[in-house]
């Protein structure tokens, strides 16, 4: 997760670079996420996904367009709270939280990292599929999940792992 200073620096660098170069940098920096997307998935998946998104928003102007004027608060957790993380979007910025948040637009309760990956990324499956398998439960506004799903898949596409 990028610190504020780091984000400012990255943002400054990104402003000087083309989108392609920004994405290239994001690609290099998110190798572990790419591994998790294309190979064995671990319980680190959520953390890597959120930090990968965060980094890509910093480095890629094209990707950042997704959160321009977008406000949303997401809470992700396993039922036993073994894994808890949150992501908030405001003012064209993404903030990743290591713990819970009080207010959320959508809450995703998932069984494990693999279930979460299947929920968001499985090819030829959409969000409902994981709900059917009872691996994932959604509370709140589903449209926020649909948007998050798009952004996550858009990231994978830009990183070349879609």
């Amino acid at each position: 997760m990028a610190s504020r200073l780091k984000r400012t620096v990255l943002g400054f660098i990104a402003a000087l670079l083309s989108d392609r170069v920004g994405l290239f940098l994001a690609k290099i920096r998110s190798k572990r996420l790419r591994d998790e997307l294309s190979d064995q998935v671990t319980d680190k998946f959520l953390e890597l996904l959120l930090s990968g998104m965060d980094l890509a928003f910093c480095l890629s102007k094209g990707y950042r367009k997704n959160i321009r004027n977008f406000e949303g608060r997401y809470l992700f957790r396993t039922a036993d709270d073994r894994i808890v993380a949150a992501a908030t979007f405001k003012g064209g910025d993404m903030k990743v939280h290591g713990g819970t948040i009080d207010e959320w637009d959508a809450r995703v309760t998932f069984k494990d990292g693999a279930a979460l990956r299947a929920f968001i990324f499985s090819r030829d499956h959409d969000i409902l599929n994981s709900i059917l398998a009872n691996d994932v439960e959604i509370d709140g506004n589903f449209n926020y999940i649909y948007k998050f799903g798009f952004m996550a898949r858009d990231l994978a596409r830009r990183l070349g792992v879609a």
């Binding site: 969000i127 599929n129 509370d139 506004n141």
Partner: protein
């Protein structure tokens, strides 16, 4: 009573014209393309007019929006470009006799962000590559949806507006935040589905006034009424009607202008004349009365595109077209203005236009319930309002067009009144079924009219029923019944009873409904039935509470001025259709899993309580283990000689079916909907019996976990060896409890020779027979007449059979578009050989692999 003047009702000398043949080839070649025109226009108008800040959208707001969409949309006379398999672009010549289209594409996916379009958001980048029914979309269109359209609807589609309302009400009522138990049940997907988040639909508009008077006359009438009333909401309603009808007129005139421009620059005199004809017709109708058959068809077509711009394409149906258009047809034929071939060609062109759009379904929707078209039913034949034979020459022309085109949409439904309609007509209906393999469905007027009058409709209203969506009967143009409002999984009622209010899908440790007793402690079968009835009432409560809440959200945010303009009732009452403007108001529930639950009841009755062959605890243990280690018990439960099975004229089994049907009808009929009407019940399952089946565990009738349920009102596959017994078991069920329609799915093996047709006709006559008033007779029957081998081959080689049409349970589908589970279900249906009247060897087909 119209005289049949055709010398050959099969019209066998007529075939596809080169124009229609070419169009049909393109139709099957082209892939559906996502169209962003409607969402773009709806969104921009909503933003510019601050709709998203409003606490309520008035009917006039909506009418102005639709007028804007109709007047602004691109008037496309003919299409010229599409994408084929592999998403390769190709050019073609579109010489349809009708201008305009539902979307901006030749075959478009129409999107309604107000409803469920946002479910496609996550897969926008992959939707053109997905395994089931991919849609073409350009990068530019993805960007437009992602950045400019969808974000505006995140808080404002019907589902989220309903959720917000539910949260607010529950917070006030019980102080719990973000609490909406009925919505949560819906999201669990195994209890019931609700279609209001997806549509205001499943009804039949009335085109007769648009044809005979023209829309200008309706505008004038609305203006008069507006001037006469002092009621502000009625004034607003009439103003809204004027707005939308003017929008429709302008759209047609825009098409005329475009056709004129194309004609002006066209060198080929034949093409030029055709364009000039289109220009002249669209300049005149639907504004003014139609005076020719083609003008009548154009009126319907233009109004139909407008209706779909307002309302999602989910079972909106066209009604009794052979009645509405007959006078114009007769006049043109008698005057020598058109020949029969012209009439058939016009109908074929219209049929293709009707199928010019497909619903937008997310990938899991495709996996569970996929392959559906938009289920636009048309109805032919039957009796008129006075009970006289209504079959006419146009009925046979429509049958011919159906036979020639073999299309999924429109979904043709034929009415047959025993003793009134001619045997020749029934014979022709059966012959078309044999020829097409799947269409049309045949409805028994006598039983249907009885069912409708039992719910309060007058005999005249009931006699004028049309078929909605799949199979649901509704009085043509005056009945707003939203017949698929609720899709109730009856096997979940059984599950909640077996597990004392719990459900294995959601976990046996979670109480979902209420405790009705541990079945292992029940002393009698009646105890079990009582518990099941309680669980049924609980689930009916939940589903109707949610449906009514969603209906109220429609009333506040989705008024329907266009549909209201084409309905009997709203113009007189000065009231929108969704506020109760129609003459007849109801809501419909369709029930999934009837035969599986009925056979499960019979199994419990016989095996547990009568013969004490196993205890309830042992039965539950077998279910939990999916019969592993309990194979002998499962074989016994599946054996119709040892356990009563519906479809064998077994009194125990058939009585359990009747008991369920009556209990379900009673539970729903007690409920009032948000428009002051009552709920009606039907048994047609579309693909939901496969979808729900995939989610559910083993049942007491011997069905193993995740296997398909049985479709519609059909008995379970493989346990009904004799066709006549199967038909009789269904035909004795009480019609008055089946007022929202049934689908009886039968599979006949094609046989050579004339005897097949004779036996076919006899099977329908026998099924419809009321046995001298001792029973109602079957209400509806539909067929698949395709060999087992052909279906199996179509699984492995779908492109070879891309036009293979099958009956699902209600609607018609292309077999290749169905998900593997549904393909298996069709293949596994009981096959009868008509020459023997017996089932052929039953051997379940392995579940096909899902394409990647």
């Amino acid at each position: 009573m119209p005289e049949i003047t055709l010398t050959d009702v099969s019209l066998k000398e007529y075939g596809l014209t080169p124009r229609v043949s070419a169009l049909r080839d393109v139709y099957f070649r082209v892939m559906p393309e996502i169209c962003v025109e409607r969402p773009r226009l709806v969104t921009s108008f909503s933003v510019d007019n601050n709709f998203f800040d409003k606490e309520r959208i008035s009917i006039l707001d909506k009418a102005r929006l639709y007028r804007y969409v109709l007047e602004t949309r691109d008037p496309i006379v003919h299409h010229s470009r599409g994408y084929e398999k592999g998403m390769k672009p190709f050019e073609f010549k579109d010489a349809s006799l009708f201008a305009g289209s539902t979307t901006s594409k030749f075959k478009g996916v129409i999107m309604y962000p107000e409803f469920l379009a946002l479910t496609l958001w996550p897969e926008l980048w992959t939707i053109s590559r997905r395994a089931s029914n991919p849609f073409h979309i350009t990068d530019k269109e993805v960007d437009e949806l992602n950045f400019k359209i969808f974000p505006h609807w995140m808080e404002h589609n019907i589902t989220e507006l309903a959720r917000k309302r539910c949260y607010e009400e529950n917070l006030k009522k019980c102080g719990i935040e973000k609490h909406c138990p009925e919505m949560k049940l819906l999201e669990r997907l195994v209890f019931f589905l609700a279609s209001k988040p997806n549509c205001i639909s499943h009804t039949i508009p009335d085109f007769s006034r648009a044809i005979s008077h023209g829309l200008r006359a309706v505008i004038n009438e609305a203006n008069d009424k507006r001037g006469q009333t002092t009621d502000q909401s009625a004034k607003e309603f009439y103003a809204a009607i004027c707005e939308v009808l003017q929008g429709i007129i302008t759209y047609s005139k825009n098409l005329a202008t475009k056709a004129q421009e194309m004609a002006d620059s066209e060198a080929d005199p034949a093409v030029k004349n055709e364009l000039l004809d289109i220009a002249a017709i669209n300049r005149k109708v639907p504004e003014l009365p139609a005076e020719t058959f083609r003008e009548g068809l154009t009126t319907i077509w233009i109004c139909w595109t407008a209706i779909h711009l307002e309302n999602p394409n989910v079972g909106l149906s066209l009604g009794r077209l052979d009645q509405v258009l007959y006078e114009l047809y007769r006049r043109d034929i008698d005057a020598g203005n058109i020949e029969l071939q012209d009439a058939i060609e016009l109908l074929c062109c219209l049929w293709l236009k009707i199928g010019d759009h497909v619903p937008s379904i997310p990938d899991t929707g495709e996996q569970l319930f996929g392959g559906t078209g938009s289920n636009q039913a048309i109805t032919i034949g039957g009796v008129d309002k006075n009970g006289n034979d209504a079959v006419n020459d146009l009925t046979y022309c429509m049958l011919k067009a159906t036979e020639l085109m073999k299309l999924r949409d429109p979904n043709p439904n034929a009415r047959y009144h025993p003793g009134v309609n001619s045997p020749d007509y029934l014979r022709r209906l059966c012959a078309v079924n044999i020829d097409t393999g799947a269409i049309p469905a045949i409805h028994n007027d006598r039983a249907v009219i009885k069912a409708l009058t039992s719910k309060g409709e007058t005999v005249e209203q009931a006699r004028d029923y049309g078929v909605i969506g799949c199979v649901e009967p509704g009085s043509n143009g005056r009945f707003y019944g939203h017949s698929a409002a609720i899709l109730l999984n009856l096997t979940s009622v059984l599950e909640l009873t077996l597990y004392n209010g719990r459900h294995r899908h959601t976990g046996k440790d979670v109480l979902i409904s209420k405790e009705t007793g541990d079945p292992t402690t029940f002393n009698s079968f009646d105890d079990f039935k009582r518990a099941l009835e309680e669980q049924l009432h609980w689930l009916v409560d939940q589903s109707t509470i949610l449906n009514n809440m969603l209906g109220r959200v429609h009333q506040d945010f989705y008024p329907t001025p266009i549909l209201s303009a084409f309905f009997e009732g709203p113009m007189d009452k000065g009231k929108d259709l969704i506020q109760g403007g129609a003459i007849i108001n109801s809501s419909g529930a369709t029930v999934i899993g009837l035969a599986d639950v009925a056979d499960s009841l019979s199994a419990i009755q016989r095996v547990v309580f009568e013969e004490n062959a196993v205890s309830f605890a042992e039965l539950l243990d077998a279910l939990d283990k999916n019969f592993e280690g309990h194979e002998i018990l499962q074989q016994r439960l599946m054996n119709p000689e040892k356990t009563p099975k519906y479809g064998n004229e077994d009194p125990v089994a058939d009585a359990n079916v009747a008991w369920i049907i009556e209990a379900v009808d009673k539970a729903f009929a007690e409920k009032e909907n948000y428009r002051g009407g009552r709920y009606r019940v039907g048994y047609w399952t579309m693909t939901n019996h496969a979808g729900f089946g995939r989610l559910m565990e083993a049942l007491p009738n011997g069905r193993k976990a995740h296997e398909n349920f049985t479709s519609g009102i059909t008995p379970v596959s493989g346990v009904t060896p004799y066709l006549s017994q199967a038909l009789n078991s269904v035909a004795k069920q009480p019609a008055e409890c089946l007022s929202s329609g049934v689908a009886l799915n039968l599979k006949y093996i094609p046989e050579q020779g004339a005897s097949m047709l004779q036996n076919f006709v006899a099977s329908v006559e026998g099924y419809f027979d009321d046995a001298g008033g001792e029973r109602d007779g079957g209400m509806e029957i539909q067929f698949n007449i395709t060999t087992h081998d052909t279906l199996v081959e179509a699984v492995t080689d779908p492109e070879k059979h891309r036009e293979l049409l099958v009956r699902v349970s209600g609607y018609t589908a292309y077999f290749k578009d169905l998900n593997p589970q549904m393909q298996k279900e069709i293949i596994d249906r009981t096959e009868y050989l008509l020459s023997t009247g017996k089932m052929v060897h039953y051997d379940p087909f392995p579940l096909p692999e899902r394409k990647s």
